[in-house]
């Protein structure tokens, strides 16, 4: 048997029991590699459960900087007897199994084509600790120490991380460092290093390592959001939690100690969006964060926001579902329900971030756009971006930037006698002017309704008045095309008539897949869409190519449908590549799907 050998390019997967305290140890393992200058892409695969069910943490060590999920496992850290058989089966031939060897296992429980590394973790813990909770928690640190020794990770780096995590608690730091060394010493005394190695490099640069939900929440702070109404739902809850903690830090009035924000945990998603719409109507920047079921519940209000032209921001962290279980897995499956949310003729602006860096940027931008366009802006994250830490470019902010409150008529504007019609087309861009309630004693007041009013907001049931209004809303949507982030195009090195379109968390896997395909001689021009409505460039891109793959993470090819519908594109031209089992899409999957389709297409053309 030949064991795998690789430096800075392998996948380690931890199989744990939920609630055993493994998450922070595993995260520290990943971060220690980052601190050695080697990029990692780490992903949680977790159950709808607080304690007891299986949970996995997959770390891709990638000197080349491929941040998508690779697929396959080179080293399995099998700490959960419940999932032993399937965990064992997942190891690549020649790979490694790390396990707790306290209790002898029959040879039939192993595979012949892998290297088995046993460390008697339970025995070591039982000898060193008497308190059950300590035995549990330090076991995690002991295996991190053992893995460090096996993989050539510098212990000093982990010690620094422990000191940062437990700053001010010297006793805790000391105990953890001892446990770390206990694991490392066992390996150096009893075992050989593996063929998988981490070597210090300089490939991380100034990038930061952060979850998309946290980044989006910070974006909301920088975007000037003052009202957050939300209802707990995985995987979006941490957006509201992070917003709360950033607000406490940055939005507490230094003199009075009072809050320059209001956060309400509502009774449900309907009330959440209702509060957002109420606050937006009244001139505050407001948002909610939710996931697919919340989007379903919010439909009516989203339509009201569209027709009554009220700013609102919704962070939709997409996932599988319904039920519990799949909701803790990732998908890009809300695209259509967000784009066309609500009754009546409606369509909504969406921003499509690819990573936490863009979650921050688009999170802030969404509030300017919602005020500028006076409508709901969806920011479409997914669980993969939202709840995993990603390596991303550092956040940046231009201090000369000020909040764009859009077209608002002030007391002075009204006093000067400027004509005010709440739904009046003035500038030819479909965007009317609005007033905040209470602005002027005699001017600018109006009664807000979804439809059935004329440009001056007076009641009207005339069909022609309705038609004029919804035509203006279409012009406004046209204006939005130039305001949402533009698509990004990457052309192949060689000329090609084949293209690919994708968005969001698919991006790193797509980038890697394009390299692999090019290496096979399969060249594709690529376009990443970043906003809806789609810019003309997207339609031009499709027109330039004979066939365009649309790669996305849902069953029904929702992005493809949206492009077909909005661009009036021949369905035959857009070929769906779909991944929707709840795991993040991989480069291996994309390469196999596209090369398979291309080869089939070539055969077809030849026959």
């Amino acid at each position: 048997m030949r064991s795998l050998e690789s430096t800075n390019d392998f996948v380690v997967k931890f199989a744990n029991v939920n609630g055993s305290g493994s998450a922070s140890a595993n995260s520290m393992f990943a971060k220690s590699i980052l601190r050695m200058g080697v990029p990692v892409a780490a992903r949680n695969i977790f159950p709808s459960n607080i304690q007891g069910l299986p949970t996995w943490y997959e770390v891709r060590i990638t000197g080349d900087g491929h941040l998508g999920r690779r697929g396959g496992v080179d080293l399995m850290v099998a700490m959960n007897p419940q999932t032993w058989d399937r965990d064992l089966a997942e190891i690549e031939p020649g790979g490694y199994l790390f396990y707790d060897s306290t209790k002898a296992m029959p040879p039939t429980k192993f595979r012949e084509d892998i290297t088995v590394v046993g460390v008697p973790l339970t025995r070591m813990c039982n000898e060193a600790y008497s308190v059950p909770r300590e035995r549990q928690l330090f076991k995690n640190i002991i295996y991190v120490g053992a893995l460090a020794a096996l993989l050539n990770i510098e212990l000093a780096v982990i010690e620094t991380l422990l000191a940062e995590q437990f700053a001010g608690k010297d006793r805790v730091i000391k105990a953890n460092v001892e446990a770390l060394h206990m694991g490392a010493n066992y390996v150096t005394t009893n075992l050989e290093p593996l063929g998988l190695r981490v070597e210090r490099a300089d490939k991380v640069g100034d990038r930061i390592y952060v979850e998309g939900n946290q980044a989006a929440a910070l974006g909301a702070v920088y975007g000037g959001a003052t009202v957050c109404a939300w209802y707990p739902i995985t995987p979006s809850t941490s957006v509201a939690e992070a917003f709360t903690s950033y607000c406490e830090e940055f939005r507490t009035d230094p003199e009075t100690g009072k809050a320059r924000y209001a956060i309400v945990q509502a009774e449900d998603e309907i009330a959440s969006i209702g509060m957002v719409v109420g606050a937006g109507w009244n001139g505050a920047r407001a948002f909610t964060c939710t996931s697919g079921p919340g989007i379903s519940l919010m439909q009516e209000f989203v339509g009201l926001s569209y027709f009554a032209e009220i700013p609102a921001v919704i962070f939709d962290v997409q996932r599988g579902g319904p039920s519990t279980g799949m909701p803790t897995r990732t998908q890009q499956s809300d695209l259509l329900s967000a784009a066309y949310a609500s009754h009546g003729d409606t369509k909504h602006v969406m921003l499509l971030p690819m990573d936490p860096g863009e979650c921050f940027e688009m999170g802030a931008l969404a509030f300017d756009l919602s005020d500028r366009l006076q409508t709901t802006i969806f920011v479409m994250l997914d669980l993969d971006i939202g709840m995993n830490e990603w390596l991303t470019k550092p956040f940046s902010w231009d201090d000369s930037r000020s909040l764009d409150r859009g077209k608002v008529m002030s007391f002075e504007d009204l006093e000067s006698g400027r004509e005010f019609g709440r739904y009046l087309e003035v500038d030819g861009d479909g965007i009317p002017y609005r007033t905040y309630p209470g602005v002027h004693p005699t001017r600018g007041g109006y009664f807000t309704r979804g439809t059935s009013r004329n440009p001056y907001a007076r009641y009207s049931e005339e069909g022609s008045v309705y038609v004029d209004n919804v035509q203006r809303l279409l012009r406004k949507f046209e204006t939005a095309k130039s305001l949402v982030p533009a698509p990004i195009r990457h052309d192949a090195k060689a000329a090609t008539r084949t293209g690919v379109i994708y968005y969001g968390s698919t991006t790193p896997a797509m980038d890697e897949a394009l390299q692999s395909l090019a290496a096979q001689g399969l060249n594709l021009n690529a376009m990443r869409v970043r906003g809806f409505p789609f810019a003309q460039e997207v339609m031009d891109f499709i027109a330039e190519h004979d066939r365009v793959f649309v790669v996305e993470q849902n069953r029904d090819a929702q992005l493809r449908t949206l492009i077909m519908t909005e661009g009036d594109i021949d369905p035959a031209k857009l070929i769906a590549v779909l991944h929707y089992d709840g795991t993040p899409i991989t480069a291996r999957f994309i390469v196999s799907a596209i090369s398979g389709l291309l080869q089939a297409g070539v055969r077809e053309a030849a026959e």
Binding site: A279, S396, W397
Partner: protein
């Protein structure tokens, strides 16, 4: 809801209030409700209350859901911003609006379908959060705009116009509001302006969730024999616990009461509620006693009206959230955006 605006001309000798405004300045568009509708009497009472309080009309935000009652905000305070929201969801929109600007006066108008059926949850949660608002339910026990279906406040055993008997228990919004922690709870009758106007004035000046259940007979679909929300039925069964005089804080308090029959309650803003007691031993500052009394009289077939409960020291949602005194909607870039230096620190902590 109408595009017909009322003519602005008025008699030169109309009485003016402290702002120099006449009652006409508090009116809205012409009502499109049925002639004789109880809701129009409530609109008139709101106009009268706002006029007497000298409220600047533009500082009132009026919000409603969907239904006959929810159409009415168009018919009063024509210079105020109004919002005809979504069926049953006015409370959340009002809550959000209130979060955005704590300086306006919030008036929510709803109906029994809007608040006791589709919007029961939102009604409950807005009340329990202590949103600073006046919340009036124009309660006719029937769906008017869809022509006569029972609502959740229809009494068990009452008959629809078509003769169908309601078998479901009624939701009594007053009892619910008391249980949920509303800090001002009243019931009145659209046909009793003398009782209703002072109650609305007191509610508008109350800090916290002020709830008024106003029985408002539907003359089309719920004003027949067998109805428990008809003019005749309510007049016969009305048991008023008190009569209210509302005294603005800055006025000298001159009350013509006999000892032992009146209660004076001073609210946060200094206004004084002078309650002429009608029911012996009724104490409107005792929540539990109020709940007990209501249940007892209800069992006896009486509709108790008046100011049923008030907590003059109530706090509101903003106090609980400790929000800054500046309305959130007027905070600017410098107040809200931490800037690049803070971001550099955040970046450093994420490496």
């Amino acid at each position: 809801m109408t595009y017909i605006l009322k003519p602005q001309l008025h008699h030169p000798n109309l009485k003016t209030n402290d702002l120099g405004k006449t009652r006409r300045d508090y009116e809205g568009s012409v009502s499109t409700l049925c002639a004789g509708c109880g809701h129009d009497s409530i609109s008139a009472a709101i106009i009268q209350a706002a006029f007497e309080l000298s409220l600047p009309p533009h500082r009132v935000a009026k919000l409603s859901g969907i239904g006959c009652s929810s159409k009415t905000p168009d018919y009063f305070l024509g210079n105020s911003h109004g919002f005809n929201t979504v069926h049953g969801r006015m409370p959340s929109v009002l809550t959000g609006a209130n979060l955005a600007n704590r300086d306006l006066i919030y008036l929510g108008v709803s109906g029994d379908g809007d608040s006791a059926s589709i919007g029961f949850g939102q009604f409950a949660h807005a009340v329990r959060r202590g949103v600073n608002m006046t919340y009036i339910v124009e309660n006719n026990g029937v769906y008017g705009l869809t022509k006569g279906q029972f609502s959740a406040t229809s009494d068990k055993g009452s008959k629809s116009k078509k003769g169908v008997v309601n078998h479901d228990s009624a939701i009594d919004l007053v009892s619910v509001a008391l249980q949920l922690g509303a800090t001002f709870v009243a019931r009145s009758f659209s046909g009793d302006k003398d009782q209703l106007v002072p109650l609305i004035k007191a509610a508008l000046s109350h800090k916290g969730s002020a709830f008024i259940d106003c029985i408002s007979p539907c003359i089309q679909f719920n004003n027949h024999a067998g109805s428990t929300k008809s003019f005749d039925y309510v007049r016969e069964h009305n048991e008023a616990v008190n009569r209210l005089d509302y005294v603005v804080g800055r006025d000298p308090i001159e009350v013509d009461y006999e000892p032992g029959t009146n209660t004076l309650v001073t609210q946060h803003d200094g206004s004084v509620l002078n309650l002429h007691k009608l029911a012996a031993h009724y104490d409107p500052t005792d929540r539990i006693a109020a709940m007990t009394y209501l249940q007892q009289r209800q069992a006896a077939g009486e509709v108790v009206t008046g100011l049923l409960y008030v907590d003059p020291t109530a706090e509101d949602l903003h106090e609980n959230l400790e929000t800054t005194s500046t309305p959130l909607n007027s905070l600017g870039t410098a107040d809200l955006v931490p800037g690049s230096a803070a971001l550099a620190r955040i970046n450093a902590g994420l490496r």
